[in-house]
Symmetry: C2
Subunit: 105 residues, 2 copies
Amino acid sequence: MPTYGAALEALADPTRRAVFERVAERPRPVGELAAGMPVSRPAVSQHLRALKDAGLVRDRAVGTRRIYEVDPDGIAAVRAYLDRFWTDTLQSFAAAAEADQEERP
Amino acid sequence: MPTYGAALEALADPTRRAVFERVAERPRPVGELAAGMPVSRPAVSQHLRALKDAGLVRDRAVGTRRIYEVDPDGIAAVRAYLDRFWTDTLQSFAAAAEADQEERP
DNA sequence: GGCCTCCGTAAGGCGTAACTTACCGTTTGT
DNA sequence: ACAAACGGTAAGTTACGCCTTACGGAGGCC
């Protein structure tokens, strides 16, 4: 059960974000993802693990390769959580502002 | 001009996220924010700086204290950016899935 | 079976983010 | 004007995240 915190941590790192965006373009095996990146293949592999733990990507085995692709369900969950997070935040702020204005007219 | 990357990095740290959530509850001075947190006041102050640089909070001086509050505009910007990020991601995935299905019926 | 490809993991180095204490400027109140 | 409250900043330590190299296991191909 990935928390939204894990997703935020996963997307915080620029390199990992680049990996995720490459996965988002289209499903690809690890070697192909690593090719053309400034870091080594194991580094990419570790980033993919973090993204997977966060529920942002998923993988399936095809022969000797592992195809990584976006996890729509996980993304939808994170998106919903964040969206509610922003909504609640703004709502609290609006309520506090109104209360403050009422307090001293 | 805060990038969305800065916002993600800012919200990645659990302690900083806690600070932000406390600010989101209602506008408060630094001392009150720091009270009841497991870290020192300067630490909170540094987190507030990061949140401010990311455009998530703003502050105003009231006497000798500084009231921190959520920055609605900044949050709206980050929210819009992330929302489009998810949308694009899912759309790319859907397109790739469809292309794949068409490729081998 | 032997070999090669693909990829995950372990171990260690290294930079940096996060925290602490100490200090200083600003503002308020008496 | 002096003292106290409030909070930002500097300096230093420590912990953690990211990267590398080295290795091993699983699967395909001859």
